[in-house]
Structure formats: C-alpha cells, structure tokens
Symmetry: C2
C-alpha cells in the first residue's frame, strides 16, 4: 500500500515538527486510523515531499515529525488554465484534471454567456489539494477568484501567450501553435463566446487558436485535451 | 438554439418515416415539449445526419419524417479504447469522453486487479449514445462486453497495434510510438497490472508503451489524455 499523502502549509525539513489542524487530525486518525509511529508523506508545494511519522495523535490535533525527503519539489511548467465555470461536478472535474495534468494556475473566467455569477473558490482550492494528494505530486495549483474575461484581458501580463480553444475564433493564427511557457489556455464556454469577446480576443497579438479535432468537445473535455496537447508538445511531457 | 439530436436505429433517407419508441417519444414530446411540425436532427451511425420533422406526436409514440441530409456520415479512425472498469461515475465518464474524442469501439477489460466482475453494458451503451447526441457526431462507438485481458490478448486481431499506458511496462518499445490505425489504447487499471500481465503484454510484438508525462494520472484522465495524443498525432485531428 502506498503512503497516505497530506498537503500542509507548514515548512518541511529535517527535524521539523508539523502540527495538524482538526480536519487533518480527523482524516489521519479517524478516517485512515493511523496511530503514533505511523508514516505519512507530506508536501507543502515548496519543500518537496517528506516522509513523516505520527508523533502525537489526538482527536482534534496531532503532531507529525519530518524524517527524510522522499521527493524533490517539482513545479509544473508556467501554464494557466482559463475556463468558464460549468455545473458543479464538471467544474470540480476540470480543477481535478488540471491539477493532475500539471497546470500552474487555474482561473475561472466569467464570459458574457457564462451563467455562474460566483464560484466557491475555497471549495475548488480544496479539490485541487485533494487531487495533488492523490496524484503523487508536490505542487498544488492556485485557484484564482472568478474574474470577468474583459477585465482579465485588460490586465493581461506582457509576454504570456494565450491559446484559445474555440472553433469560431477568426483573425487569430489559424495554424496549430503551441506557444511555449509562460502561456495560458482559454477554453470556450458552453454557450460560446459573444461576438464582442471573439473580436477582443482576435485583436490581441498574444492570442493563437488551438484546434481540438473535428468533433465538438464539451468544455471539460476540451480542457483536458488542451492541457494534454500542450504538455506533450511544449510542456514537461517531452 | 441548436436542434434536438436523436440517435435512432431506423434507416434514414429522403422520405423515410421513422417511428419512435416510447422513451424517445417521451423525450421529444414530454421533456423537450416538441409538437407536430417541429424539427429535429437524426442519426443512426450509418446514414449521416438528417433533419426531420415531427409528423405525429403521441404520448408513447410518434413519427418523424426525414427531410434533408444535414451532414455526411463520419466515422472516427479505427481506434479501440480498452480500460478496466472504475467506479460508476468514472466509468460513465470514460465512455462519454471516448465517444466525444472519437473512439471506434470501447472495450471494458477485466484485469487481475480489477474489482468489477460485471458491467452494465446496456447502460454504458446508452451513455455513448447520449454523448454522441450531445457532441454533434454521426457515430456511436460500440461498447463491448467485459472481457478478461488474457482472453482478449489470446484473440488479438492480427495487425492491430496496442499502445499501453503503464509506467511499469518494461520490454516494450520505450519510445513514444503512436501506431497508426488499426490500433488500440490500453489504460492501466487503478491497481496496476499484475507482473504476469505485464510479462504477457511485453512479450507481444504489437505492444508499445505510451508515456503520459511525469505525474501519475488517474485512469480516466489517462484515457482522455491517451485518446487526445493519438488523435492529434495519428488520428483525424491532423
């Protein structure tokens, strides 16, 4: 059996003692039934992965003692995933898959035809943490606050390429073009972009269009496919 | 608004009258509230997509009259997806995504460490139909019966390449190798292959290994990523 993996905020290193919050203590000692002396793997997104031993196990608290580093810190390439929120299960799915596939940052974007007015950022961040724990990584992508697409474009960082998965985006480069990092992937919303949004996107020099085959993909499928293509062609799969 | 799309078994063509079964009649007239004269799009996996008009709308029956072909028949490349069944929602997800991404055939496979003893083939086939209706395609992949991996390999068709997404598969070609169609993708089960299974796979000359990056992907993520890579590199996305 593989070790239980836990994301913590605390610094990790030789001899570090890591206190648990009540939810973590409940998970390790209540759900997973670990006791003093049991081994777990910890990561915090900065210091790699560490084997740690349960030093104290209480109902609502506990202490873990770092023993040895089990994996170096490994950050994914500087790729953002931008997508318009979907129904709950599919939004969770996109966050989970973006974490597994190695996005650096996940940005929910409000477009003209997006229904969501708000997201539960904390819940989505917890989904990313859980996915990172599951997939054996050492990095948790940040889930950003919901932002309007026009606002996002107005503040777009110099030098970051933007690849848009949208069939109807004209004007932008028509060839498949996997820009190198820093980069971002923007998945078209279920209802499509508005004409004004397409115009605004096509006018920007950072924008290229990403083609995802002859069939119409649902937004969450397009997200996974776009992340895969980019990682295989310009990311860390090569 | 785009047309309601419906998969039927009946032949489609100029002047064809297509009878509806009770479930289809309920969907069109009860759920979607269509009445006589309304337009829908039909496909049967053989004759392309056809615009049809509601000629008779009853509670448990109805007739549609084909008007004109709206799209030619378009079959995906000859690619099979082989995977070990997961929990219900994730198995449904794999079938839905394989349909969207253009697999020709979906084969649930029982491996030594697969928990599922049986699948609901009819339910998974219905999931594939629904996905094809949603994604605007004209083709529905066949969902095969659950078959044991050793049995499947014993009957493996001559000339069909088999790409295996499994980190620990030794002996097979170590380079990324996207074989051309006819081909199949085999996704490693959640519990991994047994040593005996790995040995049997590695011994076969049709088998190559497909690498899916440095992070550990869940089985359903690996399925989507593998389908994407193959379609983009050797399938109909190019």
């Amino acid at each position: 059996m593989s070790l239980v993996r836990l994301h913590v905020e605390h610094p990790l290193g030789e001899g570090q003692i890591v206190p648990l919050d009540p939810a973590q203590a409940h998970y390790l000692f209540g759900v997973m039934r670990l006791g003093a002396g049991a081994e777990v793997e910890l990561f915090n997104g900065r210091d790699g992965a560490w084997r740690a031993e349960v030093a104290e196990a209480g109902k609502k608290r506990g202490l873990l003692a770092c023993r040895a580093r089990s994996a170096p810190q490994r950050d994914p390439p500087d790729l953002w995933l931008l997508f318009a929120p979907l129904k709950k299960a599919r939004t969770d799915f996109v966050v989970e898959k973006a974490t597994e596939l190695g996005a650096r940052r996940i940005c929910p974007v409000q477009t003209e035809f997006t229904n969501a007015e708000r997201i539960r950022r904390d819940r989505l961040q917890a989904t990313a943490v859980e996915a990172a724990e599951q997939c054996g990584g050492t990095f948790v992508p940040e889930v950003a606050e919901l932002v309007r697409l026009d606002r996002l474009l107005a503040d777009w960082p110099e030098g970051r390429a933007l690849m848009v998965a949208d069939e109807a985006l004209a004007g932008a480069a028509s060839e498949q073009d996997l820009a190198s990092a820093p980069a971002a992937l923007l998945i078209g919303p279920e209802g499509g972009f508005s004409d004004a949004e397409r115009g605004r996107l096509a006018a920007r020099h950072e924008v290229t269009r990403l083609r995802l085959g002859p069939r119409i993909l649902r937004a969450e499928t397009a997200a996974v496919a776009a992340l895969t293509l980019w990682q295989a062609g310009a990311g860390d799969w090569t």
